[in-house]
Assembly symmetry: C2
């Protein structure tokens, strides 16, 4: 398994405070040491840094820390390999061009099998289930819509493909085209939105403290999504199993609550699907 970190905001934001806690889980506070990667959108372009070395001491991760890149959408991943060797081509996030846009994808989980893709135009380069799943999503989207459809159609189609792929195993993932960021939770994903009044936050992994009021201005909205919470004193929302959230400009603009165990009238625990627009 692995861990995921994402950011979606309405103003270019430096993710280093969150990333510095997150990367400690890649060999110090946790054992996700089989490579790391981080992708920063800049307009339609992407800066991507990957290493097959542990994120906590990778020189490439030091470089990321040093340059304080600001971005509206970021996806990062620390890997604990389940399928596929530890090497660069198996390191998330993965990138593909869809409808003339960079799409960035990272996955935490394990898909035991996948649909046949031998005739797909979009082929995985490495040997992970994650990249293959992303290629399947890309192929399906391109086949169903030759031109870019509406955001609603994109969201609904990805939801449909995700339901299909989720049958095969654990499928927590984040996906972004630089305009929006979509998160799907099979088992663990948490998020929070920072906005005025900004305050202090203390990291879980090394007690590092920041006062966001020193950096942010009124109107800024910064959503952070992470496998597990990164700070001690902020309220993280745990996503439900099967839940979907679609973030844009730092705001949650669409949500599927997923399946939650609820008490039925007869007193047993059942599954119900809650859908909210």
């Amino acid at each position: 398994m692995c861990q995921l970190l994402g950011m979606n905001c309405n103003t270019p934001t430096d993710i280093v405070f969150s990333f510095e806690g997150f990367r400690r889980r890649a060999g110090l506070t946790d054992s996700h040491s089989d490579g790391f990667g981080i992708a920063f959108f800049e307009g339609k372009g992407v800066r991507v840094f990957r290493d097959d070395k542990p994120g906590h001491n990778s020189p490439i991760a030091d470089c990321v820390k040093q340059y304080h890149i600001k971005s509206l959408n970021v996806i990062a991943h620390i890997r604990k390999a389940t399928q596929g060797e530890v090497n660069l081509e198996n390191t998330h996030p993965f990138i593909r061009e869809i409808w003339g846009e960079n799409w960035v994808f990272a996955h935490n989980g394990n898909l035991k099998t996948l649909p046949d893709m031998s005739d797909s135009l979009c082929q995985p380069i490495g040997t992970t289930d994650s990249e293959a799943a992303f290629c399947y999503i890309a192929e399906q989207l391109k086949n169903r819509y030759r031109k870019k459809p509406t955001e609603e159609q994109i969201f609904d189609t990805i939801r449909e493909i995700t339901a299909e792929l989720s049958q095969y195993g654990t499928f927590n993932f984040m996906l972004s085209n630089g305009e929006w960021l979509l998160a799907h939770c099979s088992t663990n994903l948490h998020y929070l939105t920072r906005q005025a009044p900004f305050g202090k936050a203390q990291r879980i992994d090394d007690d590092g403290v920041i006062d966001f009021s020193d950096y942010a201005k009124d109107g800024d909205k910064v959503t952070i999504i992470s496998t597990f919470p990164l700070t001690k004193n902020e309220k993280w929302i745990k996503m439900e199993h099967g839940g979907f959230v679609f973030f844009k400009e730092g705001e949650k603009i669409r949500e599927i609550l997923g399946e939650a165990k609820v008490m039925e009238d007869d007193g047993t625990l059942g599954n119900r699907t809650y859908v909210a627009a």
Copy 2:
């Protein structure tokens, strides 16, 4: 216009000596200051560093220098924008997946027009003629061969597509899939192969000196391809207009000499195409 730098070798090699001369042309010894990029193959994976700042003082380029990444195939580019704004998505090299491989492409030149690609599955993300040309090559290759064909078929097909695109303007480019590196010359490309006995080389751009015998071992073959020579005291081969070279493991394994002006029997200068396998 822009400048190109490539490396193809039979042993993982550090390109920093060449890159340090090359990047000085991005704002110091020449004016290619509209961004830079460099892609290093590592197995089937690629490390790519890009910046829309000038290569000579980009912090990302400093990071590349610092970590001495070793690779069998490298493509780098410093940009002087002709078409497309100065931003990250317009920064070479460009990457696409073809037949489950990373393909890396960089271009020096200017294509005034391009075939209609509105229905292509492979679409450019930015607004350069270069990325559009690469997408055209990728689309054609995928359409003609659903599965990866032989190297000979790849080479011949790219040659055919290149002849078509070259009608539209200047088209110096380098292309690599991590196994081989292909260079096409419209106007300016030079190369040399370093092999035993290794000696000293002195950079043109800042007089930096290296003794390759301190680093290389017998049997190593390292080919460097560059728009203009990077060293003073080595023999660079100037490619002919229309020339093609296919390098693998540091060796030239196939070459098309291109068109050279030759004296005809009647004393006039004519075009003849020389082909060598």
